[in-house]
Structures are given as structure tokens and as C-alpha cells.
């Protein structure tokens, strides 16, 4: 059992490090992107309202921009979903590699 205990200990340490590294970087990126998007949305809407009110753009153009921002939000959501799926796939591959690598190192 000594080999298995060593294997388990080594595996636990490796997986802990793997999970922390994978998700810390990714969660920080999501938070950053989300905050930036919300801030830009607010700034843009305020500026467009002013430009429309002083007749620098037509009502149709103003509406187009607001609806365009809604489409952009959908595009951003698709990007985040795709990146999340990619991260999950990377994690899955890394787990398989970690188990295999640890087993080879400790048990063989």
C-alpha cells in the first residue's frame, strides 16, 4: 500500500495545483471582460443619447446602435461559452495527463 499512498498523495497535490491554476486565471479573465463590457455599454449609451439629442444622428441610426449593442452582447456571450468549453476540455486533458504521469512516476 505504500506505493498507492505515495501515488494518492502525489496525485492530490498535482490535481490541487492544476485546479487552482486553471480556474484562477480563467475566473479573473471573465470578471475583467464582464466589467469592461458593462462600463463600455454605459459610456456608449450616454454618448449616443447626447449625440441623438443634438441631432448628430437620426432616430433610426440611434436605434440601430442600441440594437447593435444587444447583438454584440449575444456575440460576447457566445465567446464566453466557447472559452468555457475550451477550458473544460483543457482541464479534462490535463487531468488524464496528471493521473497517467503520476502513476508512471510513483508506481512504475
Amino acid at each position: 500500500m505504500a506505493d498507492f499512498d505515495a501515488f494518492l498523495e502525489q496525485l492530490k497535490t498535482s490535481l490541487k495545483g492544476l485546479a487552482q491554476n486553471s480556474f484562477k486565471k480563467y475566473s479573473q479573465q471573465i470578471l475583467h471582460d464582464g466589467t469592461e463590457f458593462a462600463k463600455k455599454l454605459e459610456d456608449d449609451l450616454q454618448r449616443w443619447s447626447v449625440e441623438y439629442s443634438i441631432h448628430e444622428m437620426t432616430k433610426e441610426e440611434f436605434e440601430f446602435l442600441v440594437k447593435g449593442k444587444k447583438d454584440l452582447l449575444e456575440m460576447e456571450a457566445l465567446k464566453q461559452l466557447g472559452l468555457a468549453r475550451t477550458e473544460l476540455n483543457k482541464l479534462r486533458n490535463a487531468i488524464v495527463d496528471t493521473i497517467t504521469g503520476t502513476a508512471v512516476k510513483v508506481l512504475l
Binding site: 449616443w48 444622428m57 447583438d71
Partner: protein, 150 residues
């Protein structure tokens, strides 16, 4: 708890976790250099043509038709790649004339003939950001070299 029992419980839990992870993992298309450079090129070409939209559409209809064809090609390319439905959906929103990104912009330019300079400039910002979401998703995909390493 004996070491043996602990080992079996650990293995069982880990097996369960791994099975769930494998089940929930939806395959994602790997990175494509062609798709990446295509998106950057189309972003630049779109923004360049948009800057002419303060002039009449008829003066630029040839370039607009070429751009529409290339955008359609990018959509079909994304749609044809396996496990690439998210990117394909992004292109679909981007080129749809009934929505409000490049497809919609080209439609209203054609209908209204000229657009105000302020609107054109603001629309370039929104549509440029929309292209960036496509570029960002493509660049975040797993590179073939990373697959080989694993």
C-alpha cells in the same frame, strides 16, 4: 478508516468525477489559423468600407457586394467545421441583414443611401468589437500543437 478503504473510496469518487467531467465536456473545434486571419482581414475590410458610408452606396456597391460574399464565405467555412457551432452562430449574427451588425449596416446604407458621420464612426466601434468576439473565441481555442503535447 484503513488505507485500503480510503483508497477505494477515493478511486470511486474520482472515477465518478471523471465520468461526469467527460460527459459534460462538449467537444470544441480546435484553433484554425485560416479562420483567425480571415476574421482579422474581414474586420479591417469592413471598417474600411464603412468609412465610405457617408457617401452614396451606388459608388461603392461593387466593394460592398464583394465584402458580402466574403463574409458569407467565412460563415459557411465556420459552419462546415465540426464542433464549431458557436463560431458559426457568431458569424450568422454578424452577417444577418435583419440584425444590427455588418449585415444590417450594409442593408441600411443601401436603403438610406448616406449615413451621418457620427453614426458611421459609432457603428464602426460596435461592429469592430463584434469582430473582436469572433477573433477572441478563435484565438482561445486549443491549438493543434497543444493537442500534440498532450
Amino acid at each position: 478508516m484503513t488505507g485500503k478503504n480510503f483508497f477505494y473510496k477515493f478511486c470511486l469518487s474520482f472515477l465518478l468525477f471523471t465520468v461526469i467531467l467527460f460527459q459534460t465536456c462538449t467537444p470544441v473545434a480546435s484553433y484554425s489559423e485560416t479562420a483567425y486571419t480571415q476574421a482579422i482581414r474581414l474586420k479591417l475590410e469592413s471598417l474600411e468600407l464603412m468609412s465610405k458610408a457617408t457617401e452614396g452606396y451606388s459608388n461603392h456597391s461593387g466593394k460592398a457586394d464583394t465584402l458580402k460574399r466574403e463574409l458569407r464565405f467565412a460563415y459557411e467555412y465556420a459552419k462546415g467545421k465540426p464542433n464549431n457551432e458557436l463560431t458559426a452562430k457568431q458569424w450568422e449574427i454578424m452577417i444577418n441583414p435583419d440584425r444590427n451588425l455588418i449585415g444590417g449596416f450594409l442593408r441600411i446604407w443601401k436603403e438610406d443611401l448616406t449615413l451621418t458621420p457620427v453614426f458611421v464612426s459609432e457603428a464602426q466601434g460596435v461592429i469592430g468589437d463584434a469582430f473582436d468576439t469572433i477573433i477572441g473565441l478563435e484565438s482561445g481555442k486549443i491549438k493543434p500543437s497543444q493537442l500534440e503535447e498532450q
